[in-house]
Subunit: 449 residues, 2 copies
């Protein structure tokens, strides 16, 4: 293998050893050895790599922290890696505008810390915060539990600096929250999974730090009751409602049993974890307590536990997070992140179970996730074959859902995209891809195949 850009003098400066971690993301299916790994430091160096690779016809896969779960960063044979790991402009805060300017290669955790040090709040979080990078989080429009209150990464982005496949640079970094001067190309790049351009810097919106939080866990007699529960929580709590997570039993019971933990609310059909976070802790607490009281009085919830301290709040969240850990420990699983119209969630759980009983009777399905966003983590035991996935995705799409809420299409869901996107829409996506990347240089085969 030869370095396609070694003649340009760039290689010596930008090339990194092609160590094994560059081969795949956390989907973990194993990628090829890349032709080369380039790690530019800024937009100008990124543009130079793209121009040189374009001249040589060298295809590239763009990598951030490689914490994705859809194979989007996995190396295909013959590809070079473009890693943003050195694109680490230190976070700059503007306290008056409440904005954060940050390099694509900075981790979410470092960006969160920079905001916190300035007394502000970057309203995005997820488990991979220590290794997931800002550029990748934006390119995949990452979500997480805070998305209910603050939106996904799309809503945190005020503007991007990005290099298009032909080496052109777009740059909207002055932190304008309103700007109707032409098409918003930043918005097009968000969620395009590196197929339309390489994000090198971002200007993000910051929020005030909430003053304390309170967490409650509610037990439901029937999964259907999750719908009026959510509706009431929204109406009563408004912007205080910071998270609303669903766990369908017997998942929490199994997770508690496996770890020797006491289940705080045994015997229910489902549990809903609620977090409130606002600016007036006392008044906010009273409002949560009143709301829980009304839900219990009307038997929408059958029982509830309310945290009395930050430690108890963490314990309740630990139960929710323990469900994820438990599922990764029980052996091979197939984890789907489905998006559903919220009213369809109980029906989906019932019909999904019936479907699996028919086509994969040895498979168990576990459902949990972000109720308030309609984002269901649907975890099947075992490595599931393509026809089972296709049937579950078809059920999802038939209810108006989407086959991925947060994780994206990557390489691994390309074959299923037509289930939830009609041919007209995919044709329009292809037209945009061809317009910006006529040589299919960047992340070929991802999203559109």
């Amino acid at each position: 293998m030869t370095d396609p850009i070694s003649d340009t003098g760039l290689a010596a400066r930008l090339r990194r050893p092609a160590t094994p971690q560059y081969r795949d993301d956390q989907a973990g299916l194993g990628g090829a050895e890349p032709i080369a790994v380039y790690a530019p430091r800024d937009a100008a160096e990124t543009a130079a790599v793209l121009r040189a690779c374009r001249a040589e016809g060298q295809k590239l896969v763009v990598q951030g922290g490689r914490t994705g779960l859809a194979g989007g960063a996995r190396v295909l044979p013959g590809e070079a890696v473009l890693s943003l790991e050195r694109c680490t402009f230190a976070p700059e805060i503007d306290p008056v505008a409440a904005t954060l300017l940050v390099g694509a290669g900075v981790t979410l955790e470092a960006a969160q810390a920079a905001a916190r040090d300035a007394g502000l709040f970057l309203a995005a979080d997820l488990g991979a915060r220590g290794s997931a990078q800002i550029g990748g989080l934006i390119a995949t429009n990452a979500g997480g539990p805070l998305a209910l209150r603050y939106g996904t990464f799309r809503q945190q982005v005020l503007g991007l600096e990005a290099v298009l496949p032909d080496g052109r640079v777009i740059r909207r970094l002055s932190g304008l929250s309103k700007d109707n001067s032409g098409y918003d190309l930043s918005q097009l790049l968000i969620g395009s999974e590196g197929t339309l351009g390489v994000i090198t810097r971002a200007c993000l919106r910051l929020h005030p730090q909430p003053r304390g939080r309170r967490v409650a866990l509610c037990a439901l007699a029937r999964l259907d009751d999750a719908l009026p529960l959510l509706q009431r929580l929204r109406r009563e709590l408004g912007p205080l409602l910071a998270a609303c997570e669903l766990i369908v039993e017997p998942l929490l019971s199994a997770a508690c049993a496996a770890r020797g933990l006491r289940h705080p609310l045994p015997g229910s059909a489902a549990l809903v974890l609620i977090e409130t976070a606002g600016m007036s802790p006392e008044a906010d607490d009273a409002q949560l307590e009143d709301t829980l009281g009304a839900l219990l009085a009307e038997a929408i919830a059958t029982d509830a536990v309310l945290s009395q301290s930050e430690r108890e709040s963490a314990t309740l969240w630990g139960l929710r997070e323990g469900c994820s850990h438990y599922l990764f420990e029980i052996g091979p699983i197939t984890s789907l992140d489905l998006s559903l119209p919220i009213p369809a969630i109980p029906r989906f759980v019932a019909e999904g179970a019936a479907l699996l009983a028919q086509i994969a009777p040895d498979t168990r399905a576990h459902a949990f996730g972000h109720l308030g966003d309609g984002n269901l983590h649907y975890v099947l035991t075992g490595h599931q074959p393509e026809p089972v996935l296709r049937a579950v995705f078809a059920l999802t799409a038939g209810m108006g859902g989407a086959i991925t809420a947060e994780h994206g299409i990557g390489l691994d869901k390309v074959a299923f995209l037509p289930l939830c996107r009609p041919p007209d829409e995919i044709a329009a996506m292809r037209a945009i891809k061809a317009a910006l990347d006529p040589d299919t240089l960047l992340n070929p085969g991802r999203i559109l195949g």
Copy 2:
């Protein structure tokens, strides 16, 4: 003139009399008589019009309520009008998902009322609510005072049904708040001013109804004090802060004098109107009062008036809105809606005045607008010639601002777009336009010229 699609049988069904109101939007510069006016009822009829016009090479201008201020809906010679006025699917609310499905031709006011009747809140408002239509508001990414708290129309859209120039239909109407299944074409269409597709329906996000509001007006000794004021308001009030409007004196003084109203806080350099709206009126009021007390104690504000009733709240808002009315009454004006990095606003006001003193000494400039969004309405007396506009826009762009925050580029600002968008970015916009509308059928000459 002949109807280019009369042979297809569509014309009889869809054609409307080409009465004079179809010629222009509220920019009011006077448009041409259209070749024909088509008013399809849904996406299928819209697609039929687009296909027929494409076959004939007939260019179209898309119209909603024609309340735009940038000439985007103005008819150019030889164009037909595609009006969404009959695309009026009645609003459908899903109370559990908190979504509103609505036709593009429904007015904002009717959509707001439908949400309110269901106990929910469509978090978008502006003066033209009675005639501005949902489709046009989305196509132009309209803003207004609520944008500070809830974002512009972009943030209200969960998904769109739209017809692309080739007659293909895209449709994301199931109200998913998370969906990373391919490029988000809805986001690309928002703010593209009808140049990339015709929006026929939208699924919008609804919010809980806030329980009451409170309004305060603060006097500032120096315009610079607006910056620490905003920073403190954000930090103390968080999501309670629903609006934060700036009026630079002597505008309010002049407006009050012209209408014989008492100025509540004379002798200041600028005024800031604050609205809070939350879920706990008593606690929220206490928090606003505490915050105002601190601002006065620290002399960030020199004086303040706090509404004691809904009527007083309306009176304070009336002062703000009176500034707009006053400016339209004083004779010919040139009204710019600039977007600036918030920290640059005081400097812009000072340097703008200095610039005008040099190049247009008879011109007065008035500044007011949405402080929290960096959105400055900058109103110049008189019909200003191109060089003056260019100089003001160049000053804006030089500070990292954009030449239009809310109103869009339309026809009237096309020549100025390169001041705030570099050639690389405009080239990328052109590539996308060419990919989706190779014959330049839809809204030719708008945005990109």
